[in-house]
């Protein structure tokens, strides 16, 4: 049962073992509606494993994950209905157009979005109208990412999981994406984002965690101004702290 104080995403004492190796070790964090938690770390730190565990594709060996109070292992369908997932490679169906991809995945999620909503989402992500009926096989990575983000927007889920969302995007596309994420954050969407992009994370995240060898070794929380709006985190401070941690 979800109450007003139920976190959008709760990860508590999470342990995940894959191939006899502890990939996540006693991971703890939670985020509420309107918060963006950026999880940073090197390759193999356990970032993507965290996301896959939240979806329910991997089972915790210990500890728990709860999305809006529900455990993916117990109520996978309910959990997945409340979250959208965006992968690093935005793996759309290449033989379908942008619009067809959106319609397919929305229908798969049981979401009935009208044409206007669909066009509005594509406008929001800035995909050119001329490209919307083209097969996504011809799309650049940035264009595919825009379609995937439009899908996440259209699903209107309270939780958004992002796996390296700006990887491979040009600086303009990264900036557009970050602005979009801030918009979603302000709409009350809880976002868990794993990324290598420290600058982008500091700009959009309300909190940042550093993951190393499956452990959360450091975390930062952004200040809020008088109106309760989050201030961007200080990149230098975070980088310095992370450098100290990773060299420790």
């Amino acid at each position: 049962m979800r109450s007003a104080t139920t976190p959008a995403l709760l990860v508590r004492n999470l342990h995940v073992t894959r191939g006899g190796k502890d990939v996540l070790n006693n991971l703890d964090f939670q985020l509420a509606a309107g918060e963006v938690f950026a999880l940073l770390g090197g390759n193999g730190a356990g970032k993507s494993t965290t996301l896959l565990t939240c979806i329910g594709l991997l089972a915790p060996s210990r500890g728990e994950v709860r999305v809006l109070g529900r455990a993916p292992s117990e109520e996978p369908e309910a959990v997945r209905a409340s979250l959208a997932y965006l992968s690093e490679t935005a793996t759309l169906y290449e033989h379908l157009s942008a619009r067809e991809n959106l319609r397919y995945f929305l229908d798969l999620a049981g979401k009935n979005a009208g044409n206007e909503a669909l066009e509005a989402a594509l406008d929001t992500v800035g995909l050119q109208p001329a490209a919307r009926d083209q097969r996504t096989a011809r799309f650049s990575k940035g264009m595919r990412q825009k379609v995937a983000i439009a899908l996440a927007i259209l699903r209107e889920t309270p939780v958004l999981l992002l796996d390296e969302p700006t990887s491979g995007l040009d600086p303009v596309a990264v900036d557009e994406f970050n602005q979009l994420l801030i918009t979603l954050r302000n709409r009350g969407v809880a976002v868990l984002m794993v990324t290598h992009d420290l600058y982008g994370a500091c700009e959009v995240a309300t909190s940042i965690g550093l993951l190393r060898d499956g452990r959360l070794v450091s975390s930062f929380v952004a200040d809020t101004d008088a109106q309760g709006r989050h201030r961007p985190l200080d990149v230098e401070m975070v980088r310095h702290a992370f450098s100290a941690r990773t060299s420790a």
Binding site: R80, A81, Y85, T91, F105
Partner: protein, 415 residues
Amino acid sequence: MNLLHCLGREAGLFIRTRSSVAALALLCVLASIAIGLGHAEVQRQEASIERVRALDVTERESALAGAPDFGDAAYAAYHLTWNPPSEMAFTAMGQRDIAPWMLRVRALALEGQIHETDSFNPELSLTGRFDYAFVMAFLLPLFAIVVMYDMVSAEREAGRIPLLVASAGNVRRLWWQRTAVRVLGLLLACLVPMWLGGLIIGTSAGALLTASAIVLVTVLVWTAVILVFSFRPWSSAVIATSLTGVWLTVALILPLGGKVLIDYLEPGIDGAQIALLQRETVNGAWDLPKEATMKPFFVTHPEWADTRPVTEPFHWKWYYAFQQRGDEVAAELSGAYRAAITRRDELTGWVALLSPPVAVQRALQRLAGTDVQASLAYEQRIRIFHEQLRRFYYPFLFNEEPYGLESLKDLPRFE
């Protein structure tokens, strides 16, 4: 969300995949060609039977009209026997390619007449016929593999599984829906040509439904096999290779191995040996004292034992008696021949338990009435008819009745 809607969504995605649609289209074309060829062959056989039946009547009437006595009439008059193609023969030609479906017989020794064509080499039996049963038994599995082998692995290799899981909620249900769409596609590609072909020639719905059930089971069995491999965490290439190996094993290696084993366990009897034995018995009788023929003949036909003894150098009743003896001497070998064929058929049935393609082909041939048993049954109908011919002529021959066409009004007719 209702099932039909979900299937419609997955069908929409599936038909946008060109390679899969091309595979199903090719399967449909091959099934259509097979049905077309089967239809043409059935029409050819029916037309041949009709044409020869008409000629058979006029030729026999001519032979009987010109005959001076019953012995000559029985010698000269041929009687057509035929095994018309069933309503489903267009789907599986089976034994009709190698066993006779039309045979003209006389009241002479029968075994030689039945087996004289066994010495010919039926060329079609070497390559096999491209019929619907062949497409369903041997090609359909390959197309099922093509449209299903990478259903899961392609998504995994594209990195789309998390997105599908997050979107669908229950990804297992999604795989079932996708499987159902592919199964429906395969069934449509296979069944539409058969139903159209059946409707054109007026096949009964029951027969078409039975054949459809065989195709359905075939598709489901192969789907189960493919899914066992598809859900393994292997690459698409490994899954495709493994499934092709399974197909090669059950469609090629097991049937060939089974044939070698059957040849070893039950080598069978050459039909030409039966014809030879019967002919040698008949031909040898010319050089024997007539008593050597008539005595054993009267043992099996005591009703004619009290008729006038043959004293002339030639008499038709002696002639037909040694024809009869020829069949009686060859009867044991002929029975062994049929028993061997039946035994080989039974052994093939055991091979079919391990080889779905063989099982499918046998099931469709059984339904089409073109299997080994149907072929033997036609042979048996010929024997029964031939026995009726003998029973008709013997009273006239042994009682030495005067010849008259009106006496032939009850001449047996093959139906």
